[in-house]
Every structure is written in structure tokens, then in C-alpha cells.
Subunit: 217 residues, 2 copies
């Protein structure tokens, strides 16, 4: 039954979830909040929705670039290079981004007669992003359920998986990960050096996928 | 200590809270989501912040008018007249509006080094708006706390008060309620007939305030 709305960035995780749960996804939503890489990733979000015939909308949140503090919103040269871990990547946190996206998705769901919101947060994000952790997901599930007439629920099926686990799912499905975007710098090609590029490479390697991403390096 | 951000519509309740807790409010935020009465109410939000020297920002959420279903977003003639109760006012619900505003306020708080979000929901809204009820407030408090680095908390001190209780507070403070906006129709004057006008009149009457609002009727 198609009664879910998916938050779809156009990265590996949410694109995998789009294919994985396509039978239950009535629509997908991407958010343009002014990061360096929004244009790159949203182009892939759009492409995959068109392929699958799933309606896709893009919500502009320009105020986040104006009022929020995050290196992700401040130009490619502000993005840290090196490992994807808490200390190194802390500056890239966009405060409460998932809460904002989930809340808007809840309103969209209720406006469109849908019952569930779906999000592709995963275990590798827990150390870094508080709004990816199981306790946040559970609290937000309570909030959207109690705060809507139809008691919308939040479904985050990858919460306890690693990014490599997700890539393995994608391999089985046959997803072409060249048609996804990770790099926080948002250049013409993936930089290959920032935390998200390094995390991407490791996940594809661990899943036994031949990484055909074009890297700058 | 000024470590809170207040969600300020420019209506009676949030304007009262602004004065009531002014010593703890570092900034206030209004949301322009495309309702008929946003311009009217936000003008008062701005005016009171200027009076008190509290920084005030306005966040545009134009996508809500485009994608959300609510009579509040569909022109003055769609607003029901008569009592402020669930059956009559149901069409005015903007799905998960408080969740969206609170989530954005949480991100603004963390970006600005603040610790708390404040909202003026009250007991009279419970029957009508799921995202004003105590169980929603508690769940959302958990969500903003677990989803932010600094464990932001939500403070909704009027949750168990009536609108008349709030007006009584305002009377003690000496608030001039002519400088607040309620009417959902958003005309040049308060219509005096819609649910929110009727609720406004009743609260002022019950608080023993001489209602100097200019009504159309």
C-alpha cells in the first residue's frame, strides 16, 4: 500500500531506501536548505523518482543558510577533509535538520492523506548527528503521532544498519551508485577527500561494489 | 538569564508570554506560512519586540500555502464563523504547524547558543489542535532534547491555562490587547464572527478587560 512519504536527499542511503520500499512510497520530498551539495544531490533524487514514477517535490528552506550555523552552509573550503567521525565532522552538523525535515514531512503526509514518514538515517551517523540516533527517532515518532489527527508514524528502517549494510542491499537491488551524491563540497566531481567521500568509498568497498564514482583526486 | 527563543505569532497568547517572560527571552521568531492573517499578526509581533528591544526574525514558509491543506491558507471566505470548537474549526488546522515551528526554533536556538524554546499553546486549543496538547509538548520536548548537541528543552508554560487565564496575566502586566491580532480572516479589522474572534471576545470578557478591539460587525 502506497501510504508513505520518503525524505530523499539523493545520497546513497535514501536512494537505496527509495528502491527498497518503492511499493509503499506514495511521494518523496527533498529539501534545499542551501548546502554546497544540495543541487548535486537533489538532481539524483529527481532522476530516481522519475525512473520509478514516484511524485517528487522540492521544499526550499533558504532561511537555514541565512540563520543557521554549519560549515555545510559556508562554502566548499570550509568542509573538513579526513575521517567521518565526530571530532572531525562536527562543524558540518546543521542544527536539528532531521527534526525540521521530519516535521515538514509530517505536515505534507497529513495534507496528502498518507500515514507514514520514512527516513534513511543509519548507525554510522549516530556518533556524529544527535538527530539520527534511535532515541531521537523514537521521540520524533511520538511527536508526529501525538501531533497529527491521523497519528502519523515514523519509519526509519536503517537506524541500526551501517552504511555498508545499506550498500549491500543496494547491490542486491542493482542500484547504480554513480547516480547518487555524497560529497559535501558539491563540486563538479566528488572530491574524494572529505569525510562523506571517505565514508562513501569505505561503504562501497566493504559491500564489494566496484566504485565507479568519478573522484577529483 | 536570556537563553530562550520565543515563537511569537502576534496574537494575544504569545504577546502575553513575550511580556511575561521578557527577562529570559533572547530572541523571538515569527513564521509567515501564507495564512490570511499572517501579515496582520506579524506586524504586532514586530512592534512588541521593538518596544522591548528583543531581536525578532521572520521565517518565510511559502511552501506551506502551496502544499498544505487548510482553510486558513485558502482565502478569508473559507474561514468558518461561529464557535471555537473542534467540529467547526477543524478545517483551519494547518497540519503539524507547531511541530514545524518548534523544529525550526530548535535549530535557531542551537545556532545562536540558546538553551530553550518557548511556545504559548494553551488549554483551550487542546480539543482542536493535536499539536497543542500536553502529550505532544512532552514528545516534542524529548525530540528537541535528544536531537540537539546541547539538549535544548521546550518550555510551554501556558499549556494548562485557558485563554482567559492568559488575558488575566496580560491585564496585570498592562498589555494593550488592541495591539494583538486574532481574526483568521485577516481583513482590515477583526471580523468579530469567526471562531478566533469569538474566542478572543470571550477571553477578554472573562478577564474583565474592556475590549477595545475594532470589530467589523
Amino acid at each position: 500500500m502506497k501510504d508513505s512519504i520518503l525524505i530523499l536527499s539523493g545520497g546513497m542511503d535514501s536512494v537505496t531506501l527509495l528502491y527498497d520500499k518503492q511499493d509503499t512510497i506514495a511521494m518523496a520530498v527533498s529539501f534545499h536548505y542551501g548546502s554546497n551539495h544540495n543541487d548535486r544531490e537533489i538532481a539524483y533524487a529527481k532522476l530516481h523518482c522519475e525512473k520509478l514514477g514516484i511524485p517528487h517535490i522540492i521544499i526550499p528552506l533558504a532561511f537555514m543558510k541565512q540563520y543557521f550555523k554549519s560549515s555545510l552552509l559556508e562554502g566548499a573550503d570550509q568542509i573538513p577533509e579526513g575521517d567521518y567521525n565526530g571530532d572531525n565532522m562536527h562543524s558540518t552538523v546543521v542544527p536539528f535538520r532531521n527534526g525540521i525535515m521530519l516535521s515538514i514531512a509530517a505536515g505534507l503526509a497529513e495534507s496528502n492523506g498518507l500515514k507514514h514518514i520514512m527516513m534513511a538515517n543509519h548507525g554510522g551517523d549516530h556518533a556524529l548527528y544527535p538527530d539520527c540516533r534511535p532515541e531521537f527517532v523514537e521521540a520524533m515518532n511520538q511527536a508526529v503521532s501525538t501531533g497529527t489527527y491521523v497519528n502519523i508514524t515514523l519509519n526509519a528502517p536503517y537506524t541500526h544498519l551501517t552504511k555498508a549494510d545499506i550498500a549491500k542491499k543496494g547491490k542486491l537491488i542493482g542500484i547504480d551508485y554513480r547516480q547518487t551524491w555524497s560529497c559535501y563540497k558539491g563540486g563538479a566531481k566528488h572530491c574524494g577527500k572529505c569525510g562523506t567521500c571517505i565514508e562513501r568509498k569505505a561503504a562501497l568497498r566493504e559491500a564489494g561494489i566496484n566504485d565507479l564514482t568519478e573522484y577529483e583526486e
